[in-house]
């Protein structure tokens, strides 16, 4: 994995694996995605390709410019319509988010939190990443793609300096799993970076902070 950091691999957004499509949202930054099944396509995502902490993106044309809206899988839910009488409401009463409409067959849903955006270049890679909150709304049925490693790295790098500016927002959205999603993202980045990359140490500090805060919030410290 580490060689990705140095080797120039060609990223082609057109060949990215599809993970699923949006079926609803809980908020501007929090979407529910139905994962593709065997029946839906030739190459449904494998389990590790839609795991907790997997970065994803959605393509959007905005005012003539192609953008990648970046997100990350931070939650999942299984739905079995037979278990309920009129179809399930997925959310518990105290949990507003993650509430899809009616679903007719057994389905895996994943929650996707938006992280930021980047511009898609003509040669199908990305540029100008920003971790600011995306301003544009996604649509039902928008396709959600698996984000390849090169893209993950490039989204997280500005002027050679590691960027994780969305982290506090992500932790907010992920709620109970906030610290875990932050840690998983950090871990993934750590594996993508060369071992002697100075950003490794920055990641350590960030991770410590996240962990500490989580323990504090959970009353461990």
């Amino acid at each position: 994995m580490t060689e990705l950091a140095t080797e120039e691999t060609t990223l082609n957004l057109n060949s990215c694996i599809r993970i699923g499509s949006i079926i609803s949202s809980n908020s501007h930054l929090d979407y529910v995605v139905e994962v593709l099944k065997d029946r839906d396509c030739d190459r449904p995502p494998e389990l590790h390709e839609r795991e907790f902490g997997q970065p994803v993106f959605i393509k959007k044309d905005v005012n003539g410019t192609k953008h990648a809206i970046m997100g990350v899988i931070y939650d999942s839910k299984l739905v079995d319509p037979d278990q309920g009488r009129t179809g399930p409401r997925l959310a518990q009463d105290d949990q507003e988010r993650f509430t899809p409409g009616y679903i007719e067959e057994r389905t895996t849903l994943v929650g996707v939190a938006l992280l930021g955006t980047a511009v898609i270049t003509d040669d199908q890679s990305i540029t100008d990443p920003t971790h600011q909150m995306p301003r544009w709304t996604l649509e039902i049925d928008d396709t959600v793609y698996h984000c390849p490693d090169e893209m993950i790295l490039s989204f997280h790098t500005v002027d050679e300096q590691l960027q994780l500016a969305y982290l506090d927002r992500l932790v907010e959205i992920a709620g109970d799993l906030g610290a875990e999603i932050a840690m998983t993202v950090i871990d993934r980045l750590r594996r993508l970076l060369a071992e002697d990359d100075p950003n490794q140490r920055v990641l350590n500090v960030v991770e410590q902070n996240v962990q500490w805060q989580a323990h504090e919030q959970r009353g461990m410290i």
């Binding site: 960027q163 994780l164 350590n204 500090v205 960030v206 410590q208």
Partner: protein
């Protein structure tokens, strides 16, 4: 000079103490604790500039400490990674204590009895204004060129500002009449500071009459003042620096009083004391002031008979303690007219005298000087018709808390009464806790420098009125040459940097390594010592030397 003062902060609200308020400043306006700030307030319809001293500073907004977890990663890098702004994000909350506004009629600070309202803008107090109002110069304005005043001593400048930005001029009148204490650990700059004050007092504009009791020979370089143009007056004035070494320090026996003699004698019995006191009194009543121990013993033998055992024992003791001590002389006495004089600084070099003799000569001299000052004020004949100021190094030796010094009595008298008679003392000491409390608390002006010992800090706390102020928390951390000046000479205490000397500093500590080097080179140049020994016939084993 400066136009509108720049606003550096904004009042947030009252603080814990009734005289305290809290204000907020952004990071780019760094204000140190101890800084003087000012704001405008309306007192009885007049707009007044109120001054306050910053006593505390804390960061209320800044990067989390967790960002500092790895010393190799700068917190700014972590912040940038996390998208946290890093520039000018810090906010400081500062606490300030109101000093007051300068009342030009009372020529001191008056408390406005109201705190600034939240939102009141604060600015840094202008240098010139502080120069006018911090010391007790009696200015009837709050903004003038104080260097034009007569009788001021430029001691240094405010430590919190750039060097020489806000100069502090002490009123010589104040500290010279109500006494001065310079207290600090060894090496903090006591002698240096005292010398700076001596320089100032000897300038043409003051022409003081100074007497330095110098037990360590630290004031030998004051003679540099002679011939130095800074000290010359337009009328041809030049300070007269006189050195009096121990050879010339003599006490005429008749100047001793009974208590002095008792103190120098070894453990006299009650009967001896009684014999001596009668004999001594009788000698004091005669006209001649130039008698010696033989005369005294003759007198006691007349009174008690030649075979009186107590007189015999006294004779032995008197000869040993007084007769054989070069300090005492039947006739010679330090002529007061030679050691004091306007425009004269006399250094009494006592470094070759033992402690007892230092105390004796000091006691007798102080008593004589005090008598003359008393006579002057009471309009009797006197040898000294002008005020005098005496500096004491090792002040705790002459006025010890243990009470164990002849000189303590006269020191107490002068510190409590001297101000009426124009006799001021400057007490210098590295052990404030060992100075007599009465003496120390009578020193109206205090210069406190770095001091670590908790007992000594306590002593300062007890005797220095202003010691409760926050500024005194700085004491342990001061470096040589930094001082807090408080008391009569100041309207409010200030932390200063003492200025450099115009004369050289004569109290440098011995450079041990340098001395070793020199001694070694010296030896190399005289090779006789290191020549290989000639063992002659080879019989010598070297062991013989041990027998």
């Amino acid at each position: 000079m400066s136009g509108q003062p720049t606003i550096v902060g904004t009042v947030a609200g009252p603080g814990d103490d009734p005289n305290e308020f809290v204000f907020i400043t952004p990071a780019e306006k760094p204000i140190k604790t101890g800084e003087f700030i000012t704001y405008s307030v309306s007192v009885d319809g007049d707009d007044r500039s109120v001054f306050a001293r910053v006593t505390n500073r804390e960061l209320i907004r800044g990067l989390p400490e967790g960002y500092l977890a790895d010393p190799a990663v700068s917190p700014d890098t972590v912040a940038t990674t996390l998208g946290v702004p890093t520039e000018d994000t810090e906010l400081y909350r500062l606490t300030a204590t109101v000093i007051g506004y300068y009342n030009t009629e009372m020529t001191t600070f008056a408390n406005p009895r109201q705190l600034p309202a939240p939102g009141t803008p604060l600015s840094i107090a202008p240098d010139r204004q502080l120069e006018t109002i911090l010391p007790n110069l009696g200015c009837e304005t709050d903004n003038m060129d104080v260097t034009e005043l007569d009788g001021v001593a430029h001691i240094g400048w405010l430590l919190n500002r750039s060097p020489k930005a806000t100069n502090i001029h002490l009123p010589i009148e104040e500290f010279a009449s109500t006494h001065l204490a310079i207290l600090a650990s060894t090496g903090s700059g006591k002698s240096f500071t005292a010398s700076v004050l001596v320089e100032e007092m000897m300038r043409s504009s003051s022409r003081a009459s100074l007497l330095v009791f110098d037990p360590h020979g630290e004031y030998t370089t004051l003679a540099d003042m002679q011939g130095h143009e800074m000290f010359q007056g337009e009328d041809g004035y030049e300070p007269d620096v006189v050195y009096y070494d121990s050879e010339r320090l003599r006490v005429r026996i008749s100047e001793l009083n009974l208590g002095d003699v008792m103190a120098v004698l070894d453990n006299p019995s009650n009967r001896m004391q009684e014999r001596l006191s009668t004999g001594w009194r009788s000698m004091q009543q005669q006209d001649s002031r130039t008698w010696d121990i033989n005369d005294l013993i003759d007198r006691m033998e007349q009174l008690y008979g030649e075979d009186d055992a107590s007189v015999g024992a006294l004779e032995w003791r008197l000869r040993r303690s007084i007769g054989e001590n070069d300090l005492f002389h039947p006739e010679d006495n330090v002529p007061l007219g030679e050691i004091v004089g306007p425009g004269q600084c006399t250094v009494l070099q006592m470094d070759t005298l033992d402690r007892r003799n230092q105390q004796l000569i000091t006691t007798v001299l102080l008593r004589r000087l005090y008598r003359e000052r008393l006579n002057d004020v009471r309009e009797r004949d006197t040898a000294i018709e002008y005020p005098i100021f005496s500096l004491f190094e090792e002040g705790h030796r002459f006025a010890p808390a243990s009470g164990d010094a002849l000189s303590l009595g006269i020191m107490r008298t002068i510190t409590s009464e001297g101000r009426k008679f124009g006799f001021g003392l400057g007490i210098i000491s590295q052990r404030p806790s060992k100075i007599d409390q009465d003496v120390l608390s009578q020193c109206g002006t205090q210069i406190s420098m770095q001091i670590q010992n908790p007992n000594d800090q306590d002593a300062i706390e007890k005797s220095v009125e202003a010691a409760g102020e926050d500024i005194f928390r700085e004491l342990p951390g001061l470096t040589p040459g930094q001082a807090i000046v408080s008391g009569d000479a100041m309207n409010t205490p200030a932390l200063i940097q003492v200025r450099d000397r115009r004369t050289r500093h004569g109290a440098e500590s011995l450079s041990v390594v340098e001395k070793w080097h020199d001694a070694y080179e010296q030896q190399q140049r005289e090779p006789t010592h290191s020549e290989t020994a000639d063992f002659g016939g080879g019989e010598s084993t070297g062991m013989q030397n041990l027998n």
